[in-house]
């Protein structure tokens, strides 16, 4: 039994390690695939919606000015298993967001992971 558990866990770990984003409602054309950006900011809006949820948050830019970020996730059904929920965020919440940005350099991207102040990690996939 123990051997089987370890094997199964290793299998899932390997699957997730090996996976990269694929498509659904839209593809990868907008995104700088493979690039990663991590931003600390303050939530201004959490839009729980289909076909994609949107997290708006403000962060400090390099010059100290406020940058308004917006980042998408997959639809609700796809991110609930990663810890997200309709009431996960409210305006004013501090978040650390790791995302894949768009190619055009704007503060826009799709979320890979959000870390909450208590260390809780919320993860997404890219299907959908």
């Amino acid at each position: 039994m123990k051997k089987r558990l370890v094997t199964t866990a290793a299998l899932v770990f390997a699957l997730q390690m090996a996976s990269v984003p694929i498509f659904a409602h839209h593809g990868n054309a907008e995104f700088d695939v493979g690039k990663r950006v991590t931003v600390k900011g303050t939530v201004t809006k959490w839009f729980w919606a289909n076909p994609h949820c949107l997290l708006s948050f403000d962060a400090k830019g390099d010059d100290g000015s406020v940058v308004h970020w917006i980042a998408e996730t997959q639809p609700p059904r796809s991110i609930v298993p990663g810890g997200f929920g309709e009431y996960t965020f409210k305006p004013g919440d501090e978040v650390t967001v790791t995302l894949e940005p768009v190619k055009n350099g704007r503060p826009v991207g799709r979320i890979l992971e959000v870390v909450l102040p208590d260390g809780t990690k919320l993860i997404t996939g890219h299907l959908d």
Binding site: M1, R4, L5, T7, T8, A9, A10, L11, V12, F13, A14, L15, Q16, M17, A18, S19, V20, P21, I22, F23, H25, H26, G27, N28, A29, E30, F31, V33, G34, R36, T38, F47, A49, N50, P51, H52, S56, V67, W69, I70, E72, P75, P76, R77, S78, V80, P81, G82, V102, G105, R106, P107, V108, L112, E113, I123, T124, G125, L127, D128
Partner: protein, 319 residues
């Protein structure tokens, strides 16, 4: 906790704990079971004349064509050594989207190829940003059949009655009826009707009838489609002459294979297999299929807030 739940639970927790920030994968819905959860199982024999139940792609979350497009299901696939299924992973070194070009093209007619090239998809090897696409489906327009199974085939419930087989699809909460009461397909597929009671009307989902080919194989035939939809998310075309054969073969108690064959003489020179024996796994009858309903208002808001700036179509500030 029952022992049969321990392995999936541990694997889920392990997966969630260790998923790295540089990669990602589709997450599994709690409660669903995949073949890799039960590597040592010996499935019971298949029941006769029965494809009812809750079905999910057996090899893993996201198994199936997804956005790649028909005939490109295996494109860009990344084989992980020692892992029995990694079909939803892309090779990190592959030149996406070029690697999404299917090795074998559908047998287009001249009109078929011309129509294909007029379609501007957001997925497949011809992908563009969503605001530049002319895909008829975003905005909550019906994706129709067979696109619903040639894109995101998700957990679905099949119900059998005396007179029909009804399939309830998770994506956008759609459903179809395949009649088994002996009626025939509309004879004129371009002005289809079930008979004198019904005015001729082409349909997004077509007209469907089905029968048992043998004790374990149910075959549906559909025609009478309108020509407003695409075959898949990569923009493959069809016309109002489309006829679809869908085959469900019950392999054993826990598995069903789904095959989709396209026949459209206006767009293709001969019938071709769009989905070949996608392996489905029977799930608990009490599994509550998640809600994934397309909302036009939310889509409009999404396009304004995200899709336009993502494609550089607004004045969003630079970071």
């Amino acid at each position: 906790m029952p022992r049969r739940f321990v392995a999936p639970m541990v694997s889920l927790i392990a997966g969630l704990m260790f998923v790295p920030i540089t990669t990602s994968a589709q997450l599994r819905q709690p409660g669903l079971v995949y073949d890799f959860d039960r590597p040592d199982e010996k499935p019971a024999p298949p029941p006769k004349h029965d494809i009812s139940g809750v079905w999910e792609p057996a090899l893993g979350p996201g198994a199936g064509i997804q956005g790649k497009g028909a005939l490109a299901m295996g494109s860009c696939e990344y084989k992980v050594p020692g892992v029995p299924y990694s079909g939803y992973a892309y090779d990190p070194k592959a030149p996406v989207p070029d690697c999404l070009r299917p090795a074998v093209e559908p047998p287009y007619t001249a009109l078929g190829r011309e129509t294909l090239l007029s379609h501007v998809p957001t997925e497949g090897y011809r992908m563009v940003p969503s605001v530049e696409s002319n895909d008829p489906e975003p905005g909550c327009n019906p994706q129709g059949f067979p696109r619903i199974v040639l894109h995101l085939f998700r957990t679905s419930r099949i119900i059998q009655t005396r007179d029909n087989v009804v399939i309830l699809y998770e994506l956008n909460k759609k459903w179809r009826t395949i009649w088994t009461d002996g009626r025939q397909l509309p004879k004129n597929a371009e002005q289809p009707t079930w008979g004198a009671l019904y005015a001729p009307e082409s349909r997004w989902w077509g007209y469907s009838v089905g029968k048992w080919e043998d004790d374990y194989t149910f075959v549906g035939e559909s025609n009478g489609f309108n020509d407003k939809t695409w075959i898949d998310n990569a923009g493959l075309p069809h016309s109002d002459a489309l006829q679809v054969e869908e085959r469900y073969h019950r392999v054993d108690r826990d598995h069903l294979e789904m095959t989709i064959i396209i026949d459209d003489p206006k767009m293709y020179t001969k019938p071709w297999v769009a989905l070949n024996k996608l392996r489905l796994r029977l799930q608990s009858p009490s599994f509550d299929i998640p809600e994934e309903e397309c909302s036009p208002l939310e889509t409009e808001e999404y396009n304004k807030m995200f899709a336009s700036p993502a494609a550089g179509k607004d004045a969003t500030k630079q970071p």
